[in-house]
Each structure stands twice: as structure tokens, then as C-alpha cells.
């Protein structure tokens, strides 16, 4: 079958000089991107509208519009506007931020290590962030300091991973990933230990380790936003360098890219964004792994497109997954993403083997 396909392609090539069967010129990408943005908007409206009180989409849009207008004027909200703005929207916005951060970090990690199975959980980044947040919760630190604690632990985890995998001035990808798995496992064990110890807060912490957007408020959103914006912004600025790195370390260096510096910067920026993602909502698996692959299938591998589109797709996916968790017995967004992402991961493995 594969051979037949190849022959067909050759015939195509002979008959039409410009074989356009799989080309992706910019004009054809635009409709897909617009469709994705429509999905994002729809998922936001749906997630805000559905719940114990149903709010029709038209009313949701109206409430969003009235809220935006009254932001400056400090006018009082009323009726459904209160549900929209004070209960549902902060949770949805947190979902958008977390989904975007995890997906952008996943794409960046996959690119920088040229490993399709890389994601924010690699290198112990997410496990470190989760441990930092758990320490903060169990110790009863002020809620606004939790992202900082998550970031500090995430960086410490990355530092440990880098130190363990270092060979001279270089960080070979295989050693890096192995060290990351070990560091991540050890840190997760610490997190579990802390949960078992902190009985009074156990319910909250347990929900946290399974991934939960239920505790998010506007204050949390404002606290994590800078980490997310700076982390993702730096990664997107490095898109062209990440593209060049796909040709291999030596080739990238011959083209003038300082490869080790690039790796370090990507790891730091991705740690900041991952810390933002896990600080208040915990471990949400597979989003960072799955979303970049889906985006690559449609939009191609160029990081200038891949990173922003992954952000949008990841945001939409997480909001929809959270909606599913609120409205079904699955109850937690981390459970939903893992149930959806696991089979995809297996498909990815099987596909890699057949190539």
C-alpha cells in the first residue's frame, strides 16, 4: 500500500510539475486558523454558559460585552452577569492560560530536544512546580506567593536535571531526558509524602495533584499571567532559532546558532510558563504532549506558526476538557485530559514504530 502511494506520487509529479496535493501555502492556512479561533470562542461561550444555571450563548456574549464596558466605570453587575464574571469566567480564563502554557512549552521542548515525546513533564519541570505549590499549600503560605514557590522549585528541579546530565559543556538529549524522568519521580514522591502528612488540607491538595481548575479566581489569574506571558513570549521569540535547530546541532552551529545558549534559554522560559500553569491548578497531563502534534499535522512544523497556534489550540482544548469534567462524572480536568491523551500517546508510539 505504501509502495503504491509512492508510485502514485511519482506519476503525479510527472504529470503536474507543481504537485499541490499536500502543499500548505499561507492562503490555505488562513481558513484553518480562523476555524480554530472560532472553536476557541465557541468553547469559551459554551464553558461560560453551561453549569447549574444555563445561560444561552447570546446572553453570555452580552454579559461579556457589558462587563468589558463596565471595567473602567466600576458599575455594579447584576443577575447572570455576576455568575458569568465572578464564578465562571475566572475559571475559564485560568483554563485558557494553563492550556496555552502547557502546549507552547510542549512544542518548545519537543523542538529543542528534537524528541517527539518531550513535554513539560520532562526534565522534572512540572513535578518541581507541583512540589513547590504543594509545599506552599501545606505550609499555609499566602496564596499569591504560590507561583513563585512553584517557579523556584521548578528551576531547582531543572537545575538538578541539567547538573546530572551535563557532559563537559554539553547536555546530550538522551541523558537529559533520563535524568529528568528520575528527578521528576523523586519530586513526585515528595509531593505524595506531603499530601499524606497534611491531613487537614488533604482534600485540596489531592484535588490539586489530579489537576483542578475549581479553585481559580481573578486574583490567581492576575498572579500567574506575567509568568505565562513572559515565558511564552520568550519561547515565541526563539521560533526561528528552534526551526534552525531541527537541522541538527552541528548544522545549526555552522549556521551561527549558539545551540547550548538556546537550550538553556528555552528551558528557563518553559520553566516559568510551566510554573504558571501548575501553580494553582496542579498536574494536567498530556495536553503539552498531544496538542503540538495535532497542530503540526495541520499547520506544519515551523515554530513561528506552531507555537502561537498551539497556544490557541491548547487553550480551547483545556477549556473544553474542563467543561467535560464539570458536567460529567469525570469530575477533574486532569482525569479528562489523561483519559483523552493516553490513547493518543499510544497511537503516537505505534505510528513511530511503523515508520
Amino acid at each position: 500500500m505504501v509502495g503504491g502511494e509512492r508510485e502514485n506520487r511519482e506519476v503525479l509529479l510527472l504529470t503536474t510539475v507543481h504537485d499541490s496535493s499536500s502543499t500548505l501555502p499561507p492562503r490555505r492556512l488562513l481558513p484553518r486558523t480562523l476555524a480554530l479561533l472560532a472553536v476557541l470562542l465557541a468553547s469559551i461561550v459554551l464553558a461560560v454558559g453551561l453549569g447549574s444555571v444555563f445561560i444561552p450563548p447570546g446572553e453570555v456574549l452580552g454579559a461579556l460585552w457589558r462587563g468589558l464596558l463596565s471595567l473602567g466605570s466600576r458599575a455594579e453587575l447584576s443577575g447572570n452577569d455576576i455568575i458569568v464574571w465572578q464564578i465562571r469566567l475566572p475559571r475559564v480564563v485560568m483554563g485558557l492560560i494553563v492550556g496555552a502554557c502547557l502546549s507552547v512549552c510542549g512544542a518548545a521542548f519537543q523542538g529543542v530536544f528534537r524528541n517527539p515525546l518531550a513535554d513539560p513533564y520532562l526534565l522534572g519541570v512540572a513535578s518541581g512546580g507541583a512540589l513547590g505549590a504543594t509545599v506552599g499549600i501545606v505550609a499555609g503560605w499566602p496564596r499569591s506567593s504560590i507561583p513563585l514557590s512553584a517557579l523556584a522549585f521548578a528551576l531547582a528541579a531543572v537545575g538538578t536535571t541539567l547538573a546530572l546530565s551535563r557532559e563537559g559543556r554539553r547536555f546530550p538529549p538522551t541523558r537529559l531526558i533520563l535524568a529528568g524522568v528520575v528527578v521528576g519521580s523523586v519530586l513526585s514522591a515528595f509531593t505524595t509524602f506531603l499530601i499524606l502528612r497534611g491531613e487537614d488540607r488533604a482534600r485540596q491538595v489531592l484535588a490539586y495533584t489530579l489537576g483542578d481548575l475549581g479553585f481559580s479566581g481573578w486574583r490567581d489569574v492576575v498572579t500567574v499571567l506575567p509568568y505565562a506571558v513572559i515565558g511564552c513570549g520568550v519561547l515565541m521569540a526563539l521560533a526561528r532559532a528552534l526551526d534552525t535547530l531541527q537541522l541538527g546541532d552541528l548544522t545549526a552551529r555552522s549556521l551561527g546558532v549558539p545551540v547550548e545558549r538556546l537550550r538553556l534559554l528555552v528551558v528557563l522560559a518553559a520553566s516559568a510558563a510551566t510554573a504558571a500553569a501548575v501553580a494553582y491548578v496542579g498536574i494536567i497531563g498530556f495536553v503539552g504532549l498531544v496538542v503540538p502534534h495535532l497542530v503540526r499535522l495541520v499547520w506544519g512544523a515551523g515554530h513561528r506558526v506552531l507555537l502561537p497556534v498551539s497556544a490557541v489550540a491548547g487553550a480551547a482544548l483545556l477549556v473544553l476538557a474542563d467543561l467535560l469534567s464539570r458536567t460529567t462524572i469525570l469530575s477533574q480536568v486532569g482525569v479528562v485530559t489523561t483519559l483523552l491523551g493516553g490513547p493518543f500517546f499510544l497511537w503516537l508510539l505505534a505510528r513511530g514504530r511503523s515508520d
Binding site: D19, S22, A237, L247, S254, L255, G256, L262
Partner: protein, 285 residues
């Protein structure tokens, strides 16, 4: 172990540069001077002197572990020599700014990885290089018509323009290698260093690659290629035979491809015959 050292490659006649640029006074060469390079714990390249002129196709040959790839990386400035130096156009390679070096020296790695889902034209555009970027990481100047022209030119010269919009995953091995060659040519380099460019290619594709490289050499490009296949290497203008990190012989194919030298380097008994004006190496047994 051998007394044959410190031999400079002597090339009989350097073709006239066909570029319109005025001839400058700097030597049009890439040069290794008393080069020692460490690879891990041992010295992989020892006391290598060699001159690679522009407009000449030099093949670096030698058995596995002779230091061919290590030499190539040192010539590119990708590894720091322990002793000795590399000179590019008469100037120490270490003194070259990153941007200028990346534009002047192009490299085609062994089995270069290409992103499967990327389009051919986008891959070749990466060859325009990061040299002039801020910190080598962030593009600071806009993409110009000159960039676009250089990419189209590189695609044309490797005959890859007709599938510039296809994805890499749909290409055959030979087509991929030509795309990589186009990527390397896109920076309009003065010297191109290739590490086993014909590895894993069917003979027809391997000859293709050599043919395209030959065209560039005729246009004034200096080419240094590590080659395993001695019969392909026989098509080069000059050969550099490495053995245990040292230069065993250098010169024209007729001077280097001799039964005695092949026996010393590879430990084989081989006949070298001339067929239709070309040398052919026939290993015995």
C-alpha cells in the same frame, strides 16, 4: 610511524574564479596549519597541514577513525583545536565574527536531519543562517528580496525548485540530500564542507550529488568532502588521505590512489586501474 607528513596539497592549476568580484589580495583558501584536535580522550587529528583552495573539489579519505569528520569540524570552527590553527581567506578562523563565518563556510552534516512536516522551500530558507541575528537567536532584520532570490537560486541549482512546496516526508533519499545541498548553498558560501554526502544513497543518487557539487566547484566554490567510496573520491580534483589522525598522502587522485598507500591506510591489497580516463580501485580477495 610514517615519515610522510606535512604534505601540502598541491593543485596543478586553480581554475579562474568566474565571479565578477575583483580579485582581492587575501589567499582564496581554507587552510589547516599544524592542526591538533582532541576528540574525547585522544588526539583525533595530529599535525595536519592542508590547503583547500577555492574552485577545487578536495576529497578527504581514510579508514574509519582516521579523523576525517573531526578534521572537518575543526575546519568549520565547530571544535577548538588543541594546537595549530585554521585560516579562512588568510585570517584565523577564531577571529572571524560568527555572522561572517556562517556566511562564508557552509556545512552539510552526515545524515542531516530534516523536519518531516516542513516544506522544502522553508528548509532551504533556514540556510540563510542565523549569523546576523541578535545573540544568534532572534532575527533582527526583515526577510529581503535578496534572501528570496538566494533561496530560489539554491533550489534551481540543485534541481529541487519543482517540488519546493512538497513536504520533506514525501521525498526520496536522493531528493532529501539535494534539498540539504540547497540548504547549504543558500547562504552563498565560499567554501562547502560535506561529511559523507553520498552515504546511504544509491549509486545513481550519489553520482547526482557529486555532479551538482562539481557544478558549484566550476563556479568557484571550494569543496571539501569526506568520502568513503574511493571510486567516487577518484572524481575529485585533489585527495587528502588520512591515517590515524595524520596526513598520509595528499595530491591528485593518481598520486594518492596507489596500491602502496592504500595498503598502508586500509590494510588491503588493491589494484588501481585507469578506465576511460578515470581511476578505479579494485580491492583484491
Amino acid at each position: 610511524m610514517t615519515e610522510i607528513q606535512d604534505i601540502q596539497i598541491q593543485v596543478a592549476q586553480t581554475p579562474e574564479p568566474q565571479t565578477a568580484e575583483p580579485q582581492s589580495l587575501e589567499p582564496q583558501t581554507l587552510e589547516a596549519r599544524a592542526l591538533h584536535v582532541r576528540a574525547g580522550t585522544f588526539t583525533a587529528v595530529q599535525d595536519v597541514n592542508a590547503t583547500f583552495p577555492a574552485g577545487v573539489f578536495t576529497a578527504v579519505i581514510g579508514p574509519n577513525g582516521a579523523g576525517k569528520s573531526t578534521l572537518l569540524r575543526a575546519l568549520l570552527g565547530l571544535s577548538t583545536p588543541e594546537r595549530g590553527e585554521v585560516r579562512l581567506l588568510g585570517r584565523r578562523l577564531a577571529d572571524w565574527p560568527r555572522a561572517a563565518r556562517a556566511q562564508t563556510l557552509a556545512y552539510l552534516a552526515q545524515g542531516e536531519g530534516l523536519p518531516d512536516t516542513a516544506q522544502v522551500r522553508d528548509v532551504v530558507a533556514l540556510g540563510r543562517g542565523a549569523g546576523a541575528w541578535r545573540w544568534g537567536l532572534i532575527p533582527t532584520r526583515p526577510w529581503t528580496d535578496a534572501d528570496e532570490f538566494a533561496v530560489t537560486d539554491a533550489l534551481t541549482r540543485t534541481d529541487t525548485l519543482r517540488f519546493e512546496h512538497r513536504r520533506v516526508s514525501e521525498l526520496s533519499g536522493g531528493e532529501r540530500q539535494r534539498v540539504s545541498l540547497a540548504r547549504a548553498l543558500a547562504s552563498q558560501p565560499r567554501f562547502l564542507l560535506l561529511d559523507e554526502p553520498t552515504n546511504h544513497l544509491d549509486l545513481a543518487y550519489a553520482l547526482d550529488v557529486i555532479r551538482y557539487v562539481r557544478c558549484e566547484v566550476a563556479g568557484g566554490l571550494g569543496v571539501v568532502a569526506v568520502l568513503h567510496d574511493l571510486n567516487l573520491a577518484a572524481r575529485a580534483d585533489a585527495l587528502l588521505l588520512l591515517h590515524e589522525g595524520r596526513v598520509l598522502a595528499a595530491g591528485s587522485p593518481a598520486e594518492v590512489l596507489t596500491p602502496a598507500l592504500l595498503h598502508t591506510a586500509y590494510g588491503i591489497q588493491a589494484q588501481v586501474i585507469r578506465h576511460e580516463g578515470r581511476l578505479v580501485v579494485l580491492p583484491q580477495g
